[in-house]
Symmetry: C2
Subunit: 463 residues, 2 copies
């Protein structure tokens, strides 16, 4: 945990922003795999971690603004627990680390909420993202299960999103340290191990093992694939062949659960082909130029469109696209090759605060989501502020099913040379991603640079 | 998946055993970690795997006995799925691999069940072990959430437990292969890496990475601890010191989800101390002798008690216990040092079929659970049959909180020399575990032997 002052400050900030009512923040329960006692590694709720810091199951926090009290609900260990699980901190000790004096048994949570509701107090809570959280909320609030999600407090969501978006120094150091000591390090290690004949799962295992050996875990399931154009891809059974690209999108999560999120695309043989070099060059340019454009006050939507124009221009130079670049991007033609957003916030979640709803985290009254294929998937569009941490991750993909669909519909055929695209339909995909902090002066890449130019990568992979 | 004939045979067997009605077996859903789209690695329900084999989320199987139909409910991939996730098998193709011709969209499941209930057909289902499964059953059957667990079908539970208990050749080979190529191999690798000054998580990471690199995963969270006496222990933050014992309890799960479950206890320095040797020798004797006693027809409860007497005798020889061994074990005095059961079934679950309820899996009308501290935790008590696969895992632990509790109550003080025990209260714990197949002739350890004698281990760890 951070020092308790951090959590006290965070709660004070939230309390001032919300003014009145009762804020309820549920911790997470354990998740069974194939029977109740065989559980996945515990992952605490990120909002509970942010305001209370205690990384254990079966807890809930209440901040009562008018009464000026803060209470954590949970049960003390009993003798049985100590016999089977060794020394266990009492609730009082746990709460002390979080700067909280009031703790109550778990079963009091329901009756305390009932009392508050009886006195017409307003209970603010966040939208549930697990079925068990939804069940719990429905039980605690005596509300209909189906309405629990919709009745979450938008006021609370917005205040938490605003607060968690601007990272403090302790949070940035946590991400930097993890990037340098774990994520960067396993990329360098992986580059030495990628070889024709080996399987994707060998590299995946190397990355996850490397991370666990350093007391971290993965922030999200690893993408490690010779089919980089398959964007939702957690299959690792392919054998790598010379000529393939291997796209790795992986990031360690720090012991305090701050995420890193990095992507590189390597040539399995150690050397990129000419076409791979050409396309890689475009993606790299889009990535580097997008990072350069980052500064407080700029809309991330505009940087996304800027990256889209660079990609469009590059593909036009290679003959895959044609016509006017600005018009092509405005029409959305680039999205055949770059069908996702440029990036998202990152912090205690890899898609930071995605549980709160993208509309509240990535957009606001000024900047609304553009409802167009490709750009519509952009998770962060609004104006950047100092302290934001985000990903920059442009890519170019040749997705056979998408190409065939558009081609059959003759979609954007003034901007796309389908004959040339079709000849290269099995190209695959390239993505390059870094994590960036928005600073007063502009921006800073989080962590020391991870090799990303063609010559840097080919040099390390030389054998 | 296994060849489809395996699944067809299994379903035919079950159908004959149940005679009538409709059997509903739910597959699992994805489990979110910190937001809906960031999910734990998918784990299919073991009963669904056993009868249908398809390792994907959002499926359910129905076996209608009178109508002689088998149906899998689930949705076909749409174009969006294929664009983002690459080529996807149709429901028809998936079902074909399972030997099933009938597939229906997911939403038909509820209406088909409603129709069957309307015709007074009996729906047999298994007890839910995840909240989302319970919710699903409650919705599908239109039954009260709280009563869903209790209304599961005992008849179905008993038939499935009987069938899954006796492993076939294909299942045993799967476990053997995983034991030899992964579990045994990572133990040997770990033995070379255990050194004073290193951290438990370094060894844990090595084991999990080694497993993932071989396209397997862990069957259960790794125990890797210098505090072997803490039985429920997933903390890996301790630094290993010379003189410590490191207890490792870890097993890989095969790609088809068969578990292995092995324990060894190593000296961090590479050499056991004299007392460690003495206690290790007792545990090893209990393990080896218990395995020798395994054969069809013997009650596993009796082998547990036999192991308990060996432990008691050994501790008596060392002066930790006293008095008559048989009487001490009958009174339960040995459970101060050996407070858990000798073992459990193993198969598609590490505690095989624990979701069905231990009373149905480990006991029967002949052998009832003994309600005594220690032996009461024995998961498997009933008579062994050819084809059972099980763990043998005796241990000796010095658990400070338990010792202090018993001492203050003067519990079993005719059998325990508390003065001597107290002097060694920080000894820690030792457990040794293998997986064993019950054969016609007696028994067979699953996989080639993993080093377990003092000299074998010290020899490998020599540096």
């Amino acid at each position: 945990m951070f020092p308790k002052e951090i959590y006290i400050d965070r709660r004070n900030h939230l309390r001032k922003a919300i003014h009145k009512g009762i804020i309820l923040i549920l911790g997470n329960k354990e998740c069974p795999m194939n029977y109740k006692a065989n559980q996945y590694p515990f992952r605490q709720d990120s909002n509970f971690l942010y305001y209370f810091g205690i990384d254990e199951p079966d807890l809930a926090g209440i901040i009562d603004i008018e009464e000026n009290t803060e209470t954590i609900y949970g049960n003390d260990p009993d003798l049985e627990d100590i016999i089977w699980m060794g020394y266990q901190e009492s609730m009082k000790e746990k709460c002390h680390k979080s700067g909280i004096t009031g703790s109550r048994p778990w079963n009091d949570l329901k009756s305390d909420i009932d009392k508050a509701v009886g006195r017409n107090r307003m209970i603010y809570y966040l939208p549930p993202y697990r079925d068990d959280r939804r069940m719990q909320l429905s039980f605690l609030l005596g509300s209909d299960y189906d309405k629990t999600y919709a009745r979450a407090s938008q006021e609370l969501i917005k205040e938490i999103a605003a607060q968690r978006s601007c990272k403090k120094e302790v949070e940035i150091s946590e991400m930097e340290k993890t990037m340098n000591e774990v994520t960067k390090a396993f990329y360098v290690e992986a580059m030495h191990q990628i070889k024709p004949g080996r399987y994707e799962y060998e590299i995946t295992g190397l990355i996850e093992g490397f991370t666990l050996e350093r007391n971290c875990r993965m922030a999200y399931p690893i993408i490690c694939s010779v089919n980089g154009h398959i964007l939702h891809n957690h299959y690792h059974g392919n054998q790598m062949q010379s000529g393939d690209l291997l796209l790795i999108d992986a990031g360690a999560e720090s012991p305090l659960h701050y995420a890193t999120d990095l992507t590189r695309t390597f040539p399995v043989s150690g050397k990129y082909t000419d076409l791979q070099k050409d396309i890689y060059g475009i993606v790299l340019q889009a990535e580097v130029e997008s990072i350069k454009a980052i500064k407080p006050g700029i809309r991330y939507l505009d940087i996304h469109l800027y990256a889209s124009r660079i990609i469009c221009q590059g593909l036009r130079d290679l003959g895959f696209m044609k016509g006017n670049v600005d018009n092509a991007v405005q029409a959305g033609a680039h999205a055949l090759f770059f069908p996702h957003g440029l990036g998202h916030m990152i912090g205690l979640d890899v898609h930071d605060m995605e549980d709160l709803g993208e509309e509240f985290v990535g957009y606001d009254d000024d900047v609304k989501r553009i409802n167009q294929f490709g750009t519509g998937y952009l998770r962060l569009g609004k104006k950047l502020k100092e302290g934001y941490t985000l990903t920059v991750e442009p890519g170019i993909y040749f997705i056979p099913a998408l190409i065939e669909k558009w081609m059959s519909e003759k979609l954007h055929s003034t901007f796309i040379d389908y004959e040339k695209v079709k000849k290269n339909i099995s190209f695959g995909g390239i993505r390059i991603e870094d994590n960036v902090l928005v600073t007063k002066a502009g921006h800073k890449i989080i962590g020391t640079p991870v090799p990303k130019t063609i010559s840097e990568i080919e040099n390390i992979m030389k054998r």
